[in-house]
């Protein structure tokens, strides 16, 4: 397995890690040049310059959607409707198969705090919140201590580094709901409401938390900011082997020899990660399918394993890069039953706001359960396909439903015979095919 030599020139996020991968607390962080980017920014760089640097660096949001961070920032910056504005760090990581934000928070918390400081400086924000997933108790303790340290060293508070500026970071921990990861649902949840997504527009940049201009960035996105400010946008772009700038936390889990997470340049192929870093499949197991970036991404097959990991190449292959934390499925796993598990998750986590999602997902689960028991009705696959259509992009209020049906749709596409073998023999013989959606629950 390849060993990674992490340097500040090549690994903006993880070069801070020490040998044992212990938490890098403020002393060690500062000793290696931590907070220098912020000090540089607060002394010399203007808001516009910071935003332009981020824009030119080509940094895209690392939460899954991949929107340009610089453009997002300039939308907030340009909105002069209120002098109060907020920065929110989305640390509500809950996508099944994803474990990158937790890693960054628990190993290098000050990198995130510094990233938030620079963002707050650029966007003229005085109050920011980290929306942390409630179950991440360890992360919560580490962040609390790191925020305390940053306060002690004068990076937070009412007179930051005696500059007259004031910044505060509040830690808000959630109470368990996947939908809180959706930007507008996150705002609702932070305000103490149900985490139903909000209608857009207005986008959070216009009217977000308590109606004020609000910028929401993912943990990994914000953690990239300090080194971009230190080393410049050109450097950042050149780290990548593809058109997407920079590096990315990428990984493989499932039945591989060495499941884990590594900071790698965009454009590295999935095979390189799987074989060189994750050590390949466990003995005797064959790769059957894989998801490039979390449970809401479409399944790809071994045929796609040489694809470069970048937003465009994965989307050209019919999936999404998502969180880029990939997962393998081996030949012993039945796709119907795996997808049933994934759909149970999405069905449980639907916020219930719109009917196709609230009612469609349990319906999908119930069909998959009967297919799993080889008790499927003749029309079941057709109904599943129709449901995929009714839950597809643009049909529901937020991306939860389209995300939920992506694995299902792609599994039917690539592994149709497994779904077909879930039909009961008697149903094939006795039930006539009937057009249109109908209940399979007689």
């Amino acid at each position: 397995m390849k060993k990674i030599l992490r340097t500040s020139e090549t690994h903006p996020l993880t070069w801070w890690l020490n040998e044992n991968e212990d938490v890098v607390w403020i002393q060690e962080y500062k000793k290696n040049g931590g907070y220098c980017a912020f000090e540089k920014a607060i002394k010399t760089i203007k808001s516009e310059e910071i935003i332009n640097t981020i824009k030119n660096s080509g940094l895209k949001g690392r939460g899954g959607a991949g929107f340009s961070t610089g453009i997002k920032w300039s939308l907030v910056f340009k909105n002069s409707s209120s002098s109060v504005r907020y920065l929110l760090c989305n640390a509500d990581e809950m996508e099944p198969g994803t474990y990158k934000d937790k890693f960054l928070i628990e190993k290098i918390p000050h990198q995130l705090i510094e990233g938030m400081l620079i963002s707050a400086l650029a966007l003229k924000v005085r109050r920011s919140y980290i929306f942390l997933r409630g179950e991440y108790i360890e992360s919560e303790n580490i962040l609390k201590k790191a925020i305390f340290e940053a306060n002690e060293y004068g990076y937070l508070g009412s007179n930051v580094l005696k500059s007259g500026l004031s910044f505060e970071i509040f830690l808000h921990s959630g109470a368990g709901r996947y939908i809180c990861g959706e930007e507008t649902a996150l705002i609702n949840s932070l305000e103490g409401k149900r985490a139903n997504p909000r209608f857009k527009p207005p986008f959070p940049a216009m009217a977000g938390l308590w109606g004020k201009p609000t910028c929401i960035n993912n943990v990994e996105t914000l953690s990239n900011i300090p080194s971009i400010i230190s080393n410049g946008s050109e450097w950042y772009k050149n780290l990548s082997k593809s058109t997407d700038s920079g590096t990315k936390m990428m990984g493989f889990s499932g039945k591989v020899k060495n499941p884990g997470l590594w900071e790698l340049p965009f454009g590295i192929t999935a095979r390189e990660i799987l074989e060189d870093y994750a050590g390949g499949m466990k003995n005797g197991l064959k790769l059957k399918a894989w998801q490039p970036g979390g449970a809401s991404t479409d399944f790809l097959t071994p045929e796609h394993i040489d694809l470069p990991m970048s937003f465009s190449s994965i989307s050209n292959a019919g999936s999404r890069l998502g969180t880029a934390i990939a997962m393998v499925v081996d030949h012993t796993v039945n796709m119907v039953s795996l997808v049933r598990n994934i759909e149970e998750f999405f069905s449980r986590e639907s916020c219930g706001w719109c009917t196709p999602c609230r009612d469609g997902l349990p319906w999908i689960v119930s069909i998959l359960r009967s297919l799993e028991k080889h008790q499927g009705q003749n029309n079941d696959i057709k109904i599943l396909e129709q449901l995929c259509h009714h839950l597809g992009p643009g049909k529901t209020f937020c991306a939860h439903a389209p995300g939920a049906i992506s694995p299902l749709k792609s599994a039917i596409k690539h592994f149709r015979s497994e779904f077909e073998s879930g039909l009961s023999r008697s149903s094939i013989i006795s039930v006539k095919s009937i057009e249109g959606i109908q209940s399979n629950m007689e």
Partner: protein, 164 residues
Amino acid sequence: MLKETLDNDFILSNEEKTEILNKKNDYEDARASSIEALKIVQKKRGWISKKAIYEIAKILDISASDLEEIATFYSQIFRRPVGRNIIRYCDSVVCYMYDCEKIRHFLENHLNIIIGETTKDLRFTLLPICCLGNCDKAPTIMINDTIFSRVTLKSIVKLLELHK
């Protein structure tokens, strides 16, 4: 088994009140501290009773039905008494491939309860949870505040023994 009436004489302790009022300062609007307030009270009492909802709503100056709406939406807020130890097993996709369903069956048989229930001696409550961000060390279970990696049926028995 356990009745809500158990909690009729609920009053917020001074400590809880102060903690909640402190949290209120973190936000522009008191409503935003609802989740924290519920968690503060739940920390000591294990669960949130009807009476607790009224008391917390009063101190936050929001309507009880608004708070109720929050309390029923989020999975970490318990509206029924729970056991002293909460066992959550991750049932998301990676843990699924690492046989989390076997873990669930084992726990159900071993504790003689099904998902969502509490053992008669009030020692354990069993709940599912989605991906704990520990997939590279699957399968995963969480007991109270601690995540346990690469668990086996054997190691689970040991873990249970440690939680009285």
